[in-house]
């Protein structure tokens, strides 16, 4: 997008009646430097600035600005969490900043993942059809039923993994926008009831966790293609009520974190080329600093409910409907996110440093990650 100049040499016409400020028109470099300093954890300022005038909108929508903003402010802050309410078919947005989406609750949907400022929801009672995937932009509060067929200018892949209880078979297939077709099913002869935790992508392999009662990991190598089900480390199965969180790590590693007594137990699986996997290796135990908090580690009522790879945080629910905690998994630092409510599943929603005023800034391509998980 061309950047309209705001330079002194090209002064705008004198202000009309009612505008008495004699402040100089600042050049674009200075305006850019000022907008860069708007706080990242209070996203309303960027949006208000975008509605000041069109030259400011083009500064804010410029990819160079967004990169600078990212460098200046670091990893985008978590603005809130998508949670599912136990025993109710309801997805709720729990804010952790001023930002509150226009639609706070969605009925009859499960949240699948949230990335790049978009949330992927699975609805099972849509008016349009029985099952549908919905992409939701909480900031602009717009949603699309997503067939992924017009998602992006660039090509993309969509993985679909599901399990059939009656047939005791788990299958996966991959859609490629380049060929507009779904691949042959890869299947394995066992039932794996997938959990609602978002999938984890490492070296072109997608990892899904199953429900707690099973405690397994489903691996889909979509290049091979092949599908298999693996176990977490024995110790995790025996001691941690089969509750664990998977996180990707640079260098082709899958990290598994679980809570054991008063520490986080961290395990690593190296994922080599052609999906060759090593055995699990134990990396470390991180003591949790939670003396002031009534978390009962190792208790069956306290288990991981979500994670945020960018911030290195794992979320644990608390007993007795006491909300959930955030634990920094490298330092063991604990903070309370909310102290009320029962949470079985949370997905952090992070800012994407992008003002989405689609009508005015041109239509942005919908950027949804490649993993969809419907069980």
């Amino acid at each position: 997008m061309a950047r309209p100049p705001l330079d002194r040499d090209q002064k705008q016409p004198p202000p009309e009646d009612g505008n008495t400020s004699s402040a100089p028109h600042l050049c674009e470099d200075i305006v850019r430097a000022i907008l860069l300093r708007l706080p990242a954890d209070e996203p309303e300022h960027l949006f208000r600035a975008a509605s000041v005038c069109k030259p400011w909108l083009s500064i804010l929508c410029d990819s160079g600005f967004r990169r600078s903003y990212h460098r200046f402010h670091g990893v985008p802050p978590v603005l809130g969490f998508l949670t599912t309410e136990p025993r109710r078919n309801l997805t709720r947005f729990v804010p952790s900043s001023r930002f509150t989406p226009g639609t706070v609750t969605h009925e009859d949907v499960d949240p699948i993942d949230a990335r790049h400022g978009r949330v992927l929801l699975h609805t099972y009672l849509s008016d349009i059809r029985e099952d549908a995937l919905i992409a939701w932009d909480p900031i602009a509060d717009r949603q699309w039923e997503c067939d992924h067929l017009a998602c992006d200018r660039d090509s993309f892949l969509v993985a679909f993994v599901g399990s059939d209880g009656t047939e005791a078979v788990t299958s996966a297939t991959l859609y490629s926008s380049a060929t507009s077709s779904w691949s042959e099913f890869s299947s394995t002869n066992s039932f794996a009831h997938l959990s609602l935790k978002p999938a984890t992508l490492v070296n072109q392999m997608i990892f899904y966790t199953t429900r707690r009662s099973l405690g397994k990991i489903v691996c889909y190598d979509y290049r091979a293609p092949s599908l298999r089900i693996i176990d977490p480390p024995d110790k995790v199965r025996l001691l941690s009520f089969r509750d664990f969180i998977l996180l990707p790590e640079d260098g082709g590693r899958l990290v598994l974190v679980t809570l054991h007594l008063t520490s986080l137990d961290i395990w690593v699986l190296e994922i080599g080329i052609r999906s060759r996997m090593t055995a699990w290796t134990h990396r470390s135990n991180v003591d949790i600093r939670c003396s002031a908090l009534s978390i009962e580690p190792g208790h069956s009522g306290t288990f991981p409910v979500g994670s945020c790879e960018e911030h290195g945080r794992i979320y644990f629910n608390r007993d007795s409907h006491d909300g959930f905690l955030s634990i920094h998994f490298k330092s063991g630092r604990v903070s309370v996110v909310t102290s009320k409510g029962e949470f079985l599943h949370v997905i952090p929603f992070t800012a994407f440093y992008m003002p989405t005023t689609p009508q005015l800034a041109g239509t942005y391509a919908l950027e949804i990650p490649v993993c969809a998980n419907v069980s």
Partner: protein, 186 residues
């Protein structure tokens, strides 16, 4: 040749005398003269550092035609205060190269320094800082202006920046509807 040599010596002497001075004189667009510590000017402004190194500093006042006297007074004031606020050890080891470290919160005195400025003086100062390549002062002034935007409506922000609204009513209505959460009153 004799004459030339003499000239050279005179030039050399003048240069030495200039180098001995520990202040430089700056002249604002409206002709007012300000003295500033040479060391601080060279350390805080890439443009002044370049002029000092290149010998283009005028003893009778280096012309800064783009900067008014009020803004220049603030620049000089900032340089002198900054020079005093830094421990001498840091002064000795500091070079004229710029500190390009990531943004650090303004210090207490810097906050006070920009807080006392009128709106117009602040805007003039941010332009002067930009013109003189004063990264830290630009950081502090831009930070202050971005703080001024907090809690303001787009209309109020336009007033602060003296910007004309170029959106149509329909476009603005559309934005407000789409982004209602960002616009409700503080």
């Amino acid at each position: 040749m004799e004459v030339d040599k003499g000239k050279g010596e005179a030039e050399e002497t003048r240069k030495v005398a200039e180098a001995d001075r520990d202040t430089v004189t700056l002249k604002s667009s409206d002709g007012k003269l300000f003295e500033v510590s040479k060391e601080a000017a060279a350390r805080l402004s890439t443009v002044l550092a370049g002029m000092i190194a290149g010998g283009s500093i005028d003893d009778n006042g280096t012309d800064l035609k783009q900067i008014g006297s009020e803004a220049l007074e603030n620049v000089v004031d900032y340089c002198n205060k900054h020079a005093n606020s830094i421990p001498s050890a840091a002064l000795i080891s500091s070079s004229i190269s710029f500190n390009t470290a990531p943004f650090k919160e303004p210090e207490e005195w810097e906050r006070k320094f920009v807080d006392r400025l009128s709106h117009d003086a602040l805007f003039d100062l941010v332009e002067a800082a930009n013109f003189l390549g004063m990264e830290r002062l630009l950081d502090v002034t831009c930070h202050k202006i971005s703080e001024m935007m907090k809690g303001k409506s787009p209309d109020q922000i336009r007033e602060v920046f003296n910007i004309k609204n170029d959106y149509t009513k329909e476009e603005l209505e559309e934005i407000r509807q789409e982004l209602a959460w960002a616009f409700y009153d503080d």
